[in-house]
C-alpha cells in the first residue's frame, strides 16, 4: 500500500497524461480524418463525456441516476437559448453549465434530503426526464420563446449559433476547432474527476458509497456530499449537452429515454467504479451501433440489447476491471 504521497502523484501523472494525449489527438486527428468523420468524432466525445459524468455519480457516488439525459438536454437547451440571446456565444457557456448544475442540485436536494431509497431515486430521476421530454416536446407554438430564442418544441432549435472565438463574435469555430474543444473538455473533466477523487471531498464521497451510516456517524453530512457530487455530475452532463448542441443540434430527443438508457449501458459495459472504462465503453458501443446501422436488415437496437444482456450476465463488474484483473494475472 503506497504512502499517500505516491498515490497523489500517480493520480496527477494520469491527469497530465490524459491532457497530453488529448492535445495530440486534437492536433493530429483533424488532419487525418475528413470533415464528416471529425464531426462524428465530436458527437462520440460529447457522449463519452456524458458517460464520464454518470461514471462519477454512479461509479463513485453510488447514485444510480436514470435521468442523466435530463441534465444533458438542459445543458444543450440552456446553451442554445443563451447563444441566441447573447451577442457573443462565449457568455452562453457559463449558462450552459450553470443551469444543469442548479437543476441537479435542486433535484439532489429533493431526493437526498427526502431520504429516498435507490430504487425510488431511479424512478424519480426517470420521471423528471420524462416530464422535461414531454414539456419541451410541446413548446412548438410561437408563444414559447425565451427572448429571441423560440423553443421550437419537436423541431428543436436548429439555428443554434455555434461557439465563436472568445471575444470575437464574428469568427465562428470551424468543426475541427469544435472537435479540439470537445477533446479538451473530455480530458479536462477526466483530470478533474481524478483530482476530485484524490481530494478529501472525493474520499468522503467514496466512503459514503461504501457505508453511508458509518460516514454519518463520523460527522459527515451525507446528504450534502451526495448533493455536491450529483451537481458536479450535472455540470459535466450539461457540458456534454453544450458540445452536442455545437456538432448536431438541440432537440427534445436529448431528453429521451433512449439517451438515459444508452449512457447507463455504456457505463455498465465500460465498468462501474472506473473512469476510463465508461469513456472507452461509450466510444466502442457507439461505433458498434453505427456499424450495426450499416448492416442491411439488422436492427442496431437488437445488437445493443444483446450486448447489454451478455455484459450483465458475463462481466458483472464491466469491461475495464475485468480486463485489468486479466492483465494483472498475466503480468509477471
Amino acid at each position: 500500500m503506497e504512502a499517500p504521497g505516491t498515490e497523489n502523484r500517480r493520480a496527477l501523472l494520469q491527469a497530465v497524461l490524459a491532457l497530453l494525449a488529448a492535445g495530440f489527438a486534437a492536433w493530429w486527428l483533424p488532419q487525418v480524418l475528413e470533415l464528416f468523420a471529425v464531426i462524428n468524432a465530436t458527437v462520440y466525445i460529447a457522449m463519452a463525456l456524458l458517460a464520464l459524468s454518470l461514471a462519477l455519480v454512479w461509479g463513485f457516488g453510488g447514485i444510480l441516476c436514470f435521468g442523466q439525459a435530463a441534465f444533458f438536454g438542459l445543458g444543450g437547451y440552456a446553451y442554445a437559448v443563451a447563444a441566441l440571446n447573447l451577442p457573443d456565444t462565449t457568455y452562453a457557456v457559463p449558462v450552459a453549465l450553470g443551469v444543469p448544475m442548479l437543476a441537479a442540485a435542486a433535484l439532489g436536494y429533493v431526493m437526498f434530503y427526502g431520504k429516498v431509497s435507490d430504487v425510488y431515486m431511479g424512478v424519480i430521476t426517470l420521471t423528471v426526464t420524462l416530464i422535461l421530454f414531454n414539456f419541451i416536446n410541446s413548446t412548438a407554438g410561437d408563444e414559447w420563446r425565451i427572448g429571441a430564442a423560440p423553443l421550437g418544441g419537436f423541431n428543436g432549435i436548429p439555428a443554434t449559433p455555434p461557439l465563436n472565438v472568445p471575444g470575437d463574435p464574428g469568427t465562428v469555430l470551424a468543426p475541427e476547432q469544435v472537435f479540439a474543444v470537445a477533446i479538451g473538455c473530455l480530458a479536462g473533466c477526466y483530470a478533474i474527476c481524478k483530482l476530485i477523487l484524490r481530494s478529501h471531498f472525493g474520499r468522503v464521497v467514496v466512503a459514503i458509497r461504501e457505508n453511508e451510516l458509518r460516514a454519518a456517524l463520523l460527522g459527515y453530512d451525507v446528504r450534502l456530499y451526495k448533493l455536491a457530487i450529483f451537481a458536479v455530475g450535472g455540470l459535466m452532463a450539461g457540458l456534454a449537452g453544450m458540445l452536442f448542441a455545437n456538432c448536431v443540434f438541440v432537440s427534445p430527443t436529448m431528453f429521451s429515454l433512449a439517451y438515459s438508457g444508452q449512457v447507463i449501458i455504456w457505463v455498465m459495459v465500460g465498468g462501474v467504479g472506473t473512469l476510463l472504462g465508461p469513456i472507452v465503453g461509450a466510444m466502442l458501443l457507439q461505433a458498434l451501433t453505427a456499424w450495426a446501422g450499416t448492416l442491411p436488415g439488422v436492427n442496431p437496437s437488437l445488437i445493443l440489447g444483446l450486448v447489454l444482456v451478455v455484459a450483465v450476465l458475463a462481466i458483472p463488474r464491466g469491461l475495464q476491471p475485468t480486463l485489468t484483473t486479466l492483465l494483472r494475472k498475466r503480468a509477471p
Binding site: L64, V110, G114, K115, V116, S117, V119, Y120, G122, V123, I124, L126, T127, V128, L130, I131, N134, F135, N137, S138, L257, G261, I264, I265, M268, G297, V298, N299, P300, S301, L302, I303, L304, G305, L306, V307, L308, V309, A311, V312, L313, P316
Partner: protein, 288 residues
C-alpha cells in the same frame, strides 16, 4: 349532465388502461422484487400475437384472450430460465439485463415485421350515452380490467397456489424450509406476470396502433404506477392507477394531452417524496 357521465367513463377507461398495463409488472415486482424493463415489449408482443392470430383467421376474441397471453407467457418462462434466474437479489443488474432484453425485442420485431402500423379496428361498435357516443370497446376494457383484477386477487387469496406464492413472496427462505420449490414458484409467477402483460397488450391493441416501439410509451407509466403503489401488489397498483389515471384524464380534459401527462408525472413525484414506501407503505398496509 351527460358530459359529466362521459368524462367519468373516459376517466374510468384511463384508469383501466393504466391498471391493465401495470398489472403484469406489479405481479413480477410484487412477487420477486424484480423490475422487468422489458415489460413494455411483453405488451407489444401480446398485441402482435393477437394481430397475427387474427390475420391467420383465428376469432378475434380467442386471439386476444387466449393466444396472446399463452405466447407471451411461454416467452416469460424462457426469459426467466435464461436470464432472470441468474440475477435474483441483484436488482440493478436485473433492471439492466431486462433493459437489454427490451432493446433486443424491439430490434427483432422491427426487423421481422417492419414499422408499418398493423392492427385491427375495435369491435363492439359505438354506444350512445346521452348526447355523447363512445366506443363500446372502451366499456368492455373497463369491465375486462375489473374481471382480471378480481381473478388475480381470487387466485392469490383463495387458491393453494396463491397461498404458496404469497408465502414465497413474504419470506422465500422460510417457504423453502417448508418444502416449497421457490425456484419453480419464481418461474411460474414470472410467467404469470408475462401472460397478464400479453393479455393487456392484446386488449389495448385495437385502441392504439400496433408498432414495434409501442412498448416504450407504456413502460415508464407502468413502472411509475407500480413503484408509487408500493409493496402491496394489487392494492398498491390499483390505488396508484386510480389516482394517476384520473389525474391524467381529467388533466387532459382541462388542458392539453401533454399537460395531462406532465401533471400525472408531477403527482407521482410528489407522492414518492411524501410516501417514500409508496401508497401502501402507509395505507392498506396489510392488504394483498
Amino acid at each position: 349532465m351527460d358530459l359529466a357521465l362521459a368524462t367519468g367513463i373516459q376517466a374510468l377507461s384511463g384508469i383501466a388502461t393504466l391498471l391493465l398495463i401495470s398489472l403484469g409488472l406489479a405481479i413480477v415486482f410484487g412477487m420477486m422484487r424484480v423490475i422487468n424493463l422489458a415489460h413494455g415489449e411483453f405488451l407489444m408482443l401480446g398485441a402482435y400475437s393477437a394481430v397475427l392470430a387474427v390475420q391467420a383467421g383465428v376469432n378475434l376474441w380467442v386471439a386476444m384472450l387466449v393466444v396472446a397471453p399463452l405466447c407471451v407467457g411461454l416467452l416469460g418462462v424462457l426469459v426467466e430460465r435464461l436470464v432472470i434466474r441468474r440475477l435474483y437479489g441483484r436488482m440493478v443488474d436485473t433492471m439492466l439485463a431486462t433493459w437489454g432484453l427490451s432493446l433486443g425485442l424491439v430490434g427483432a420485431v422491427t426487423m421481422v415485421f417492419g414499422n408499418t402500423v398493423a392492427g385491427f379496428s375495435a369491435p363492439l361498435g359505438s354506444v350512445q350515452i346521452g348526447a355523447y357516443s363512445t366506443s363500446g370497446y372502451g366499456l368492455f376494457l373497463i369491465a375486462a380490467t375489473a374481471v382480471l383484477l378480481a381473478a388475480v386477487w381470487a387466485v392469490l387469496r383463495f387458491t393453494q397456489a396463491g397461498l404458496i406464492a404469497r408465502g414465497t413472496m413474504q419470506n422465500a427462505g422460510m417457504a423453502a424450509a417448508l418444502g416449497v420449490p421457490t425456484e419453480r414458484v419464481y418461474a411460474l409467477s414470472f410467467a404469470a406476470g408475462a401472460a397478464v402483460s400479453g393479455l393487456a397488450g392484446a386488449l389495448i391493441a385495437p385502441m392504439s396502433g400496433v408498432v414495434p416501439t409501442m412498448g416504450t410509451a407504456y413502460i415508464a407509466r407502468s413502472f411509475i404506477t407500480v413503484i408509487t403503489g408500493g409493496a402491496a401488489m394489487l392494492a398498491g397498483t390499483s390505488s396508484a392507477a386510480g389516482l394517476l389515471g384520473s389525474v391524467n384524464t381529467l388533466g387532459t380534459f382541462a388542458t392539453t394531452p401533454v399537460l395531462g401527462e406532465v401533471l400525472m408525472l408531477v403527482v407521482a413525484i410528489v407522492l414518492l417524496r411524501l410516501l417514500p414506501q409508496g401508497i401502501t407503505g402507509r395505507f392498506f398496509r396489510r392488504s394483498l
